[in-house]
């Protein structure tokens, strides 16, 4: 699966990267990324995730082919 991160998450991860680990849903992915970079755990807990530009829940199942966007809390305006 392809992961794309924004804003403050770019301080912890590459802007876009491939992940081939065995990850079954969004909750799993959140945990995986938090373990990979514990300093990002607090932000990741507050992130929303999107697949194909649609927000998905923690239970959303992942097959490994997805493009997943990790969206920190908004701060526009």
């Amino acid at each position: 699966m392809r992961i794309q991160v924004f804003a403050v998450l770019k301080d912890f991860f590459k802007k876009e990267f491939e992940l081939s680990a065995n990850i079954s849903n969004i909750a799993d992915l959140r945990r995986y990324l938090s373990l990979e970079n514990p300093n990002a755990a607090m932000v990741l807990n507050r992130c929303r995730f999107a697949v194909q530009d649609e927000f998905v829940t923690d239970q959303y199942p992942l097959t490994g082919d997805e493009h997943i966007v990790v969206i920190p809390p908004s701060s526009g305006g």
Binding site: A7, P72, S75, G76, G77
Partner: protein, 155 residues
């Protein structure tokens, strides 16, 4: 019109196209870059967006406002990239028959943009440091990153 744009926002052009024979009230909101935030001196801001999602979401928010308040005009534009002090980062214009609807809908649109839409600001401070800031913190109250406390609702 690009909802998300790297160009300077042209408030004047947007305002000039926002007059409508059936509307008695036009409200324009401009969110501008301040030289201070939480006691720190700000040099400039840099905005980043997930453009495709942000565009779609802002369009949906505007459509929802049009329906809810029967607006003649509802438009919004958000700038990304470097935005200097006194420059506008976001503009919202609403027009309606009476002024109550124009104010309320305007507030609704900007509140939802600030809380929900994937746009982020990074503050570049006078002391040389940078800070991703002004995050929506509603989850602390609601316990859910998808549930927000909107200013327009608590008024």
């Amino acid at each position: 019109m690009d909802v998300i744009t790297k160009k300077e926002l042209d408030l004047v052009a947007l305002l000039q196209q926002s007059h409508c024979p059936t509307a008695g009230a036009v409200v324009l909101f401009s969110g501008e870059v301040r030289n201070h935030n939480s006691g720190k001196q700000v040099k400039y801001l840099e905005y980043e967006a997930h453009t495709s999602m942000a565009t779609k979401m802002i369009d949906e928010i505007l459509q929802s406002a049009r329906t809810r308040w029967n607006l003649s005009i509802a438009l919004a534009q958000h700038r990304i990239g470097k935005v200097k002090i006194t420059e506008s980062a976001v503009v919202v214009i609403t027009a309606s028959v009476h002024r109550g609807e124009a104010y309320a809908s305007n507030r609704y649109v900007i509140d939802r943009i600030k809380h929900e839409v994937p746009i982020w600001k990074c503050e570049y401070l006078e002391d040389g440091s940078k800070e991703w800031g002004g995050n929506c913190n509603c989850h602390k109250e609601t316990g859910d990153v998808n549930k927000h406390v909107y200013e327009f609702e608590v008024l």
